[in-house]
Amino acid sequence: MNAPLPDPMVPVPFRIEKVRRDLSDTFTMELVPEAGGEFAFQPGQFNMLYVFGVGEVPISISGDPADRSVLVHTTRSVGQVTEALDALKPGDSLGVRGPFGTSWPVESAFGHDLVFVAGGVGLAPLRPAIYQAMANRERFGRVIVLYGARTPEDILYKKELERWRGRFDLDVLVTVDRATGRWGGNVGVVTNLVARGGFDPLNTTSFVCGPEVMMRYAAQALEKKGVDTGRIWVSVERNMKCGCGLCGHCQWGPHFTCKDGPVFRYDRVADLFQIREL
């Protein structure tokens, strides 16, 4: 008989250290393994989070990859499991499987301008890559964060964005679809910010994350600007039950989104974006 292999389907208990409410329906949790130890991951990867007795959801990791002592997840409660996650408090436990999936190839952008294009909660999966880029700031040309949110009240990581905006080595441009209150900033879709440029298209790598429609148009805007489609990366969402290519649910054409993605090079999937109900 063969020795049993480690089972990727069994979660490891983590304890919630902190919970911060980011938006009315979005929250960030800091987790530590109950058995101690560290958690290493690459920016763009995700975990399957298990709420005891309720179920599991894939959630991207949104913390700093350089800090292995704590696992950070930003979640928007939109369904049964995420709502159950939302109900957990510091001290509670949840199960973690992962990290799974491909990552934002930050190192491949060394020597380039690096343009992050985020929409809505799509900023969360990009944040680890932003941290990693800032930790290697001297390796890039310009580093630009273009972020589109629904309204000023829906801007994720607002304080952090303000802090980043204060840095002279990072350009942060935020736009909202609908201005409310005393918002004096940009109004319009995030593709408008792409069209405004501010980067050298022939020497630019871009990481794009948001709703699929937004990514499609953002990638097209980058392409129109002259950015090579082979230097544009997107993060795709599909139904995931296992996270590791065993359950078949997340198939997108020839890809298993969970292990061939979620981060894909745009030129390799641009055709798939055009196929309805794939």
């Binding site: 939109v78 369904g79 809505g120 679809d177 109004v187 319009g188 879709v189 405004r196 429609v213 937004m214």
Partner: protein, 193 residues
């Protein structure tokens, strides 16, 4: 309004007229002027005759719709390197939105009547100007559509379902036939008698 000598240079530097033929540029310069708007002031108002358009050189302009009893709705912001106003190209040449300077705005303005006349007289100029405006109009249209999609809105179906279920439960006559309901009815009767 000032008309400095270097207007041609300013015009040529602006991304909108990038690479324009010097002969056409000179025709444009004749209709152009340098303008400056303090934060809060209006570049133009909805309903006004569209007798100008602006190339923004610096600052941010909000395109707004005015509404009663509420602050105006900002539908779009336009910044440095972009163009504000294209109603001057479309009869009856009336402005359809308000444009307000959100910051100090420096712009190159063009006299629409002057330009329309020159474009009629010189089709090469007419074609060149339209060729530059059309992509911007197309971009704005597709951007507006995307904006309308409200892509980052929380997904609704789950909640709609819940509402439906609640509504159905309220409307349903099924509960009247349930043992609990009959018990309640009986109790009510008892109380009355």
């Amino acid at each position: 309004m000032v008309k400095p000598d270097n207007l041609a240079g300013v015009l040529q530097e602006h991304p909108f007229f990038q690479g324009i033929a010097p002969s056409l540029r000179d025709l444009l310069v004749g209709c152009a002027a340098n303008e400056r708007f303090e934060a809060g002031s209006m570049l133009f108002r909805q309903g006004d005759s569209a007798d100008k358009f602006y190339l923004i050189r610096s600052g941010t302009v909000a395109i707004e719709i005015d509404q009663p009893a509420r602050p105006p709705i900002v539908v779009e912001t336009i910044t440095e390197g972009e163009v504000a106003g294209w109603s001057w190209l479309v009869p009856p040449y009336r402005l359809t939105f308000d444009a307000r300077a959100l910051t100090l705005v420096r712009a190159l303005s063009f006299d629409a009547q002057c330009l329309r006349r020159k474009m009629e007289a010189e089709p090469a100029l007419g074609y060149d100007v339209l060729r530059r405006f059309l992509p911007i109009m197309a971009h704005r249209l597709s951007a507006s559509r995307l904006q309308m999609l409200d892509l980052y809105a929380p997904p609704k179906p789950a909640k709609v379902k819940k509402e439906k279920a609640e509504k159905a439960a309220k409307k349903s006559k099924g509960t009247n036939r349930s043992p609990d309901a009959r018990l309640k009815k009986a109790k009510k009767k008892d109380a009355k008698s």
